[in-house]
């Protein structure tokens, strides 16, 4: 873990007076003086990390890549539900950024982006600014706490975790489940689509039920879903709930949680007040803040429209948006973010060399859900660019598993191992 800190470049302080006014660009120094072709990437999740690696790999290291990320390590959302189930630890889903620097020569800066000027092509951090030729913003999601009365970042961090970004809240939720008495109620609320990882909440219900079945069998999982029905792999999840956890999981559709009370541990919907021992409220979502800073949020004030051949923002030239922040008929998944990252890396290399990018990009997505410690199922699709619709369209043949199985549980684990490696090593 301590090595990771060293993997990030240490940017010397530009003077305390200047950092007190981080948004005043003229006062801050240029960090890492730009000498040649350069791409700055904001956010090192699945999308940002993969884009950094492939830009270096496919440009034969001729394009300088600076990756800005606020977290010291990569914590994987995929497989984080198994931490709640108890079959993996936080350590198992935490990975180093080191190889991106050491093996591929990407420059990592640990820090928070404070401002982006898409006209001047600059990104401001606390200690100075970076110039870029092209900017990739891979901001992930932000949670809309203000849509649930009584909820805030602080309350989520300390009392009512969403745990929808793997990290300290995942550990907190696991701790709360461990502390819950047998016979308790775990409440999971799901926001209206689109949200990150469509099958994620239903997988989480399985993982929590897995833990409770083995340790607190009188307990219950209650799902309040703002959507009219299970949004992904419906038949498979119902089959998992009924056969593996009979009588444990109660599902209520069309139930939007509008308020919570941390003191009384209750949640309010249009129809009822529900008390629970562990509250896991997942608020509605939007593109992460860096997308706003880049001026790229232009769909429903939440998401970003892009050209799917390059992932260049429809609002800001030379700014590329990838991952969950993109408005598309594509699933918001880690796998999809890596796929978009590769299309973007290839396109940026062509554009920076004055050539046409691939006019017909193809991506795919495989999303496994672990329904116990050993069993899983998937949904898989190939998506192709449709020039007429200017959109990505599912190709023939995609679909879901016939049934959940241990065989697919093994494949899910291999998938995780390989995608972590493809993104980071």
């Amino acid at each position: 873990m301590t090595c990771d800190r060293r993997a990030f470049l240490k940017i010397a302080a530009g003077g305390t007076l200047l950092t007190a006014f981080p948004n005043i660009a003229f006062a801050a120094p240029e960090l890492l003086k730009k000498k040649g072709p350069r791409v700055v990437i904001v956010g090192a999740g699945f999308g940002g990390a993969t884009c950094a690696k492939y830009l270096r790999l496919w440009s034969d290291k001729k394009i300088e890549v600076i990756l800005v990320e606020r977290s010291p390590t990569f914590i994987s959302c995929p497989m984080s539900n198994t931490v709640l189930g108890g079959s993996r630890s936080m350590q198992d889903i935490t990975h180093s950024y080191q190889a991106l620097g050491k093996k591929y020569g990407a420059k990592l800066i640990r820090g928070e982006v404070l401002a982006i000027d898409p006209i001047k092509h600059t990104v401001n951090l606390a200690k100075g600014y970076l110039k870029y030729d092209r900017l990739v913003v891979a901001p992930g999601i932000d949670l809309l706490y203000d849509q649930v009365e009584g909820l805030s970042q602080k309350i989520a961090d300390e009392q009512i975790p969403h745990a929808w970004k793997a990290g300290p809240q995942t550990a907190l939720l696991r701790k709360q489940l461990e502390a819950m008495a047998d016979g308790g109620v775990y409440l999971l609320s799901i926001p209206k689509a689109p949200y990150r990882c469509p099958p994620g909440p239903y997988e989480r219900a399985c993982q929590v039920a897995f833990y409770l079945k083995n340790h607190k069998p009188k307990s219950k999982v209650l799902i309040l879903d703002a959507n009219p029905d299970i949004t992904s792999k419906k038949g498979l999840f119902l089959s998992a709930w009924n056969t593996l956890y009979p009588g444990m999981i109660e599902y209520r559709p069309n139930a939007t949680v509008t308020a919570v009370n941390a003191a009384t541990r209750s949640a309010k919907t249009e129809f009822e007040d529900v008390k629970a021992d562990v509250l896991n409220i997942v608020p509605p979502m939007r593109a992460g803040k860096a997308a706003d800073l880049a001026g790229a949020v232009n769909v429903d004030q939440r998401w970003c429209a892009v050209d799917f051949r390059t992932y260049e923002s429809k609002a800001q030239p030379h700014v590329h948006i990838i991952g969950d922040a993109v408005a598309a008929g594509l699933p918001k998944s880690g796998h999809m973010a890596t796929a978009q990252a590769k299309v973007t890396a290839a396109a940026i290399i062509e554009l920076m060399n004055g050539r046409q990018p691939d006019p017909d990009p193809v991506v795919n997505n495989t999303c496994y859900s672990m329904v116990s410690d050993k069993e899983a199922m998937h949904v898989a699709n190939v998506f192709r660019f449709n020039a007429e619709q200017q959109n990505m369209v599912a190709a023939e043949g995609g679909g879901v598993s016939e049934k959940f199985s241990e065989e697919e549980g093994s494949y899910a684990k291999y998938w995780a191992k390989n995608i972590w490696s493809d993104a980071l090593r």
Binding site: G397, S410, K417, N418
Partner: protein
């Protein structure tokens, strides 16, 4: 010394190869990497595609596509690609070094 010679040799043979890379093939092959590893160099559990025999790769993919070879997920992916794209992937993977 021997190691140095080997390194030099590798550099000389990979440079021209890198210049001729079929980028469309590379991008198509990269769509397999999440499960099969970067450039088909799987790090565990899934088939290593790097260095695969071209004809074998094409035969397997077409068998997945037709349903002749049973699979949990590969039949769904294979159907999403054209035969010409499968041939391009085969060419790319077969040209990759198996293992580092």
């Amino acid at each position: 010394m021997k190691a140095c010679a080997a390194v030099l040799f590798t550099i000389f043979i990979t440079f021209p190869a890198a210049a001729e890379v079929d980028k469309r093939a590379r991008s198509l092959a990269a769509t397999c990497a999440a499960c099969h590893g970067t450039d088909g160099k799987s790090v565990g559990g899934t088939a290593v595609l790097a260095g695969v025999d071209q004809a074998l790769f094409i035969r397997q993919m077409l068998a997945f596509k037709s349903g002749q070879r049973k699979a949990t997920v590969m039949h769904q992916h294979a159907k999403g690609y054209t035969d010409a794209e499968i041939e391009k992937m085969a060419a790319y993977f077969s040209a990759q070094q198996r293992g580092e």
